[in-house]
Structures are given as C-alpha cells and as structure tokens.
Amino acid sequence: MKLFEYEAKSIAQNLGINTPRGAVASTSEEARDIHKRIGGEAVIKAQVLVAGRGKAGGIKFASKPDETRDRATEILNMTIKGERVKKVLVEQKAAAKKELFASIVLDRANRCQTVLASDQGGVDIEEVARQAPEKVLRHRLDPVFGMRSYDARLIALKLGYQGAQQGTFTDFLSNLYRLSVIYDAELVESNPVIEMQDGRFLAADLRVIVDDNSLFRHPEFQERSKEISSEVTALESKARDNGLAFVELDGDIGIIGNGAGLVMATLDLVKQYGGKPANFCDVGGGANAEHVATALQIIQGADKVKAVFVNILAGITRCDEVAKGIVDVKKVMGLKKPLVIRMVGTNQEEGRKILQSAGLTAMDKMDEAARLVVSKVAA
C-alpha cells in the first residue's frame, strides 16, 4: 500500500526525521492559511499516489499566501494520470546547500534490504543510475541484524561526510531505516534529501510503500487500505471485494481461471492467437461454486467484454463446483456473452455432466479453447 506524501511525512516526524514546515489542505483557503502560518516561499504539492506529478504540473511555487490559494485551486482541479487530486501539501521551500537521494528497498535478488544513496538528488534517480551508475551507492544490509551504526557511517563517509556532519547524516539514515522496520516498508525513499545551510538533513520528499501482507499488524492503515485509490478501477474494486484476484486490462475477452500462473498463461495464449484479454481473474485454489458464479457475473456484466473464457485445471478445485457456479449464473441471469469453457482435473466427469444438463460443454485443451474464444470475438 502506497502512502501519500503527507502520511509518510507525518510518521517520519514522529520518528525524529526532519521534514519541511507545512501542512496538508483540502481546500485552497486552507492552503492560503497554512502559507500565512509558515511564512517564506511556499511549495504546493499535489497529493497523489501515481509517480510523475512534477512533470504533470502538480508541484507549484508561490511567494504570497494569495498566490498559494490560486495555485492550490489549480492543483485541486487537476487529474494526474487518472487520479483526482483531493489534497495538497503546502510547505516552506527549504534553502538547500545540497540535494541528495536516499532509499531503503526490499531487494528480491539479494534477499535483504539494500540502501541506495547518491549525492545527485532531486532528479530522476533511475536516469542517474543509467548514465552514471557509479554515482549511485548500493549497500546491502544483513537480513537479520539490519542497519548497524557502522553501515550508516560507511554510507555517510562514501557520500563525503566527515566529522559532525557524518554523525548528523548517520542519524538521518538510521531513522529512515527504523521507519522501514516499524512500518514493514517495501520502500522508503527520499528524493531529494536536503542538506540545509545549518547542517540539518531534511526529507523534502518522502515515498513509503507498506507491504500489503503486513497490514494485519498495522491496524492504523486498515481503513485507509480499503479506500478506493486511483490505481484501482471500479471493476477491480468490485471483484476484489468479492475475494477475487483481479486486474482490468484493455481488451474484450473476459478471462477466469484458477491459479495466478495459469491465468497469466491463459492471457498469453489468447494474445498469442490474436485476441485481447479484458482482465486477469484468479478465483484461487479450492474455489467453490459461489466464487466462480461471482466472477462470471462480474465479468459478463462489463460492457466491453464480448466473450468469456473459463480455464480451469482442477487440483484442489473441483470441476463439479466450477460447473455448478456456471450453471447457476445461466439459470439465474442467463449467459450474456459467448462462453468457452476448458475444464479438466478433479471430478471432471461429474462437472461435465452438470454442464451437459444445462446444454453446455467443456473442452480438454487450453490451446484449442483459446483459439475458439478468439474466433468468437473476431466473428
């Protein structure tokens, strides 16, 4: 779960991480009042979860509170990459001596947390890594013991900090690491980290992504995680509320299957034969009739779907349950789109009998079924 910048900064402040003076506003009047309170030059930042808000015009500057109100009005009327801006963060523009980059990521390849740091902050760090990989420092942390003081000191030293400044940066980095542990973060990233004239380090921007699997031990995020974010379409949200792993795509062939790998392979096959999948939908292992019926109802109900492909390889799942789910939908609301079923595995014969009694048939091979469903849409 991605946190908004203002949420990330609020938890950071509680851990002793400096952030610019400021507050979050939902209206342009609030934004103006915040500027009055903090004084100086203000920066007004759209609070969205998508990346690239700067390029989209979601970050503006103002020297007077009335200007801040006008800029906030503009930003609050924006939609950035499909995400409506609902809040802006108004902060004092910090005077930077230097801009750095620091992040702590869960590193899949090395099965540990890795610190990425650079003295080239405030710019696209992936670009820096491409052009001048030596400018981005990578330091792996022990998976069990994490960041020890000498890990942080080593990084500070490599970034050129000595004496008192080394200690100040070490504290800053250690606090970012503490945040990653306490909040089970997949990613903590500050770009830029600002080194101020007075020597303090400030997280001028802060991105935090909390591991979804750890939400059970973070009750503080549970409500927030249910809110529909811009990253989830209405169809996805409906399907997920019904316990389906669902991703909406831009094609016209609805896909239902059991098991993430099998569903991915099904999308690939449909595409291979010239079709365009409308979605990824995994009913999961051990799905019952109800799961299958819900998936079919949601998918055939989408206007853009012209045909539906159900691909089941039953192991823990049982074909008779799958068949029951399909037949239930046919009886209750009717099959609204051409349907191709491939169904093999546990209780195959019982399942096929149930389908036959409702005038439906199932195929054996997923290749042939994929070809057939593509031809139904092309016809």
Partner: protein
C-alpha cells in the same frame, strides 16, 4: 533418484488441525508420503488424521524420527513456525502459507541459510518426488516418475505442464514450486544446482513468470557454468501490463524490469529451449533428445 525428498522422508505437519492442514495431510498420506506427526500449539495429546499431535516440534521429535516439515499455519505465525522446524534440525521445511510479510520471509530465509536448512516456499504448492513422496498440495496423479526435474513459481501452471509432460510420456524426477512471493527460500539457480548433482535427472524445466530477476539469474548461471544438463523453460505473463500485481505478490513488472520478453530472451541466449505456449514444452523435449540419453 530425486532431490530433497523421497522414500526416506518422514515429515511432520505444522498446523495439522486446521482445514487445509488436515485435508492435505490425508491426501499426502494417500499418496504414500510418510507423515509421522502433527504439531498445533495447545492441541498436544490429541490426534488428527490418525496421527499424534504435539504442542511443539521438539516434543514431536522426542516421540518420532521426523526429518522434514510442511507448514500450513496462518501467515502471522509462519516465521516462527519455520524457525521452530529449523531449530529441531528438520530439512526441507516446506511453507505452503501465503501472504507472509516479506520482512518475515527475509529473516526466516537467512535463519535457514545460517543453519544449513532448505526452505521451500513460502506461497508454494510444495514438492513432489513422483511415486515416492509428496509434501504439498498438488494433485499427485498428474506426476509420473521419470527424468525431468521441474522448478516453478506457480501452482496450477505446474500441474498443467506436468500433466501435459506425463500425457506425452515424459516423466519427472522431482517437481517443486519455489513459491510466488518476492522472497523465497530457493531461487532458480538453487534449483539448477540441486538437479545438476542428481543422477536421476537429465533435463530441467523451469516455469517462470514476470517480476524480479530469478530467470535472468538462472540464464547467467547456465551460461557461465556451461550447465551440463538440458534446460527448457516457459515464462508466463507476456500479456501482463507493467505496475500491476498479477495474483502472486512477486508477479509484477516494475518500470521496465521483469518483463516476460526480457526473461525469454536471456534464457534463449543461454541456449535454453524456451516454449512460446505451455503445450510446446513437451514438443521441444521430444524433438531434441537429451544429450545424456
């Protein structure tokens, strides 16, 4: 011959009294797996699926001669259940549980590494040595003994591919799911190393998917070590858009990294036989006779 499990495997089931635990214990016993005990805290002294239940793994080991474990306990308790099995000297430890926090898996995997234990999973269908032993939730009947070692990041897709291999007369030595999570105890390089030293395996099949770099790392390993056995692969997720998790926590293209096309390309460059569709794997293996036969 096989890797990690076989006739010698005597396993305990951690979380045996839960729905999944008891259901699959029965199926594993039906397959012929030697399951010797179950562990559920607070249920010591009872029985489940005809087996004695203990409160701790250590207690189970006082009364039985188990050497492996399979874990079905809920995600919040899985890390310590794994450590408990490792502390008792059990290996492999198969973790079926899904949705374990990544940090917990990361710590558990390091813990296992430092103590010489092998973790399979988390979020895995398990491991099966055809005709000998099954520690997992896969349907046993699609697997037949043979010489193909199979490693996969997926469950049902593994059954799909194993079933088609079996149908075409190609049997398997050991098939194992490394797991669908970002952090797994074994990666594809580990799987290749295991099969390399197994005289009962002459061909390795890898079933990968989008996300991470396990397939690219495998390709580099095969090329750099001039891997002595035939390797074939299928990668799922060519139609997946970037930035979306496709069911598995680990199946996500981040930026331009982790695409199926890039993985297929690096595997082909390492002379791996790469199938475009799952059913093509059999064809590729039948066309090209193993160098060892």
């Amino acid at each position: 011959m096989a890797v990690l499990i076989g006739k010698q495997t005597r396993a305990i089931v951690q979380g045996i009294t839960g729905n999944q635990g008891s259901f699959h214990t029965r199926l594993m016993l039906d397959y012929g797996t030697r399951i010797v005990a179950g562990v559920t805290p607070g249920k010591g002294g009872t029985t489940a699926v005809g087996l004695p239940v203990f409160d701790t793994v250590a207690a189970a080991l006082e009364k039985t001669d188990a050497n492996a474990s399979i874990i079905f306990v809920p995600a919040p308790f899985a890390k310590e259940a794994g450590m408990e099995a490792i502390d008792a000297g059990l290996t492999p430890v198969v973790i079926i549980t899904e949705m374990i926090p990544a940090r917990d898996s990361m710590i558990l995997i390091e813990y296992a590494k430092n103590r010489g234990a092998t973790i399979i999973g988390p979020n895995t269908p398990g491991i099966i040595t055809a005709g000998e032993s099954k520690l997992g939730i896969m349907p046993g009947d699609v697997f037949k003994p043979g010489k193909v070692g199979l490693g996969s990041r997926s469950g049902t897709l593994t059954y799909e591919i194993a079933a088609s291999l079996t149908h075409d007369g190609i049997g398997q030595s050991t098939c194992l799911g490394i797991g669908g999570d970002p952090f797994t105890g074994l990666n594809f390089v580990d799987v290749l190393k295991l099969f390399r030293d197994d005289p009962g395996t002459d061909t390795v099949v890898l079933i990968g998917e989008i996300g991470g770099s396990a397939e690219e790392d495998a390709a580099n390993y095969i090329r750099d070590t001039k891997y002595p056995k035939r390797v074939a692969a299928y990668i799922a997720g060519r139609a997946a858009p970037p930035g979306k998790r496709m069911g598995h926590a680990g199946a996500i293209i981040t930026g331009t990294e982790g695409t199926a096309d890039a993985k297929m390309k690096s595997l082909r460059e390492a002379d791996v036989l790469v199938a475009e569709v799952p059913s093509e794997l059999s064809r590729l293996l039948l066309q090209q006779v193993s160098p060892l036969q």
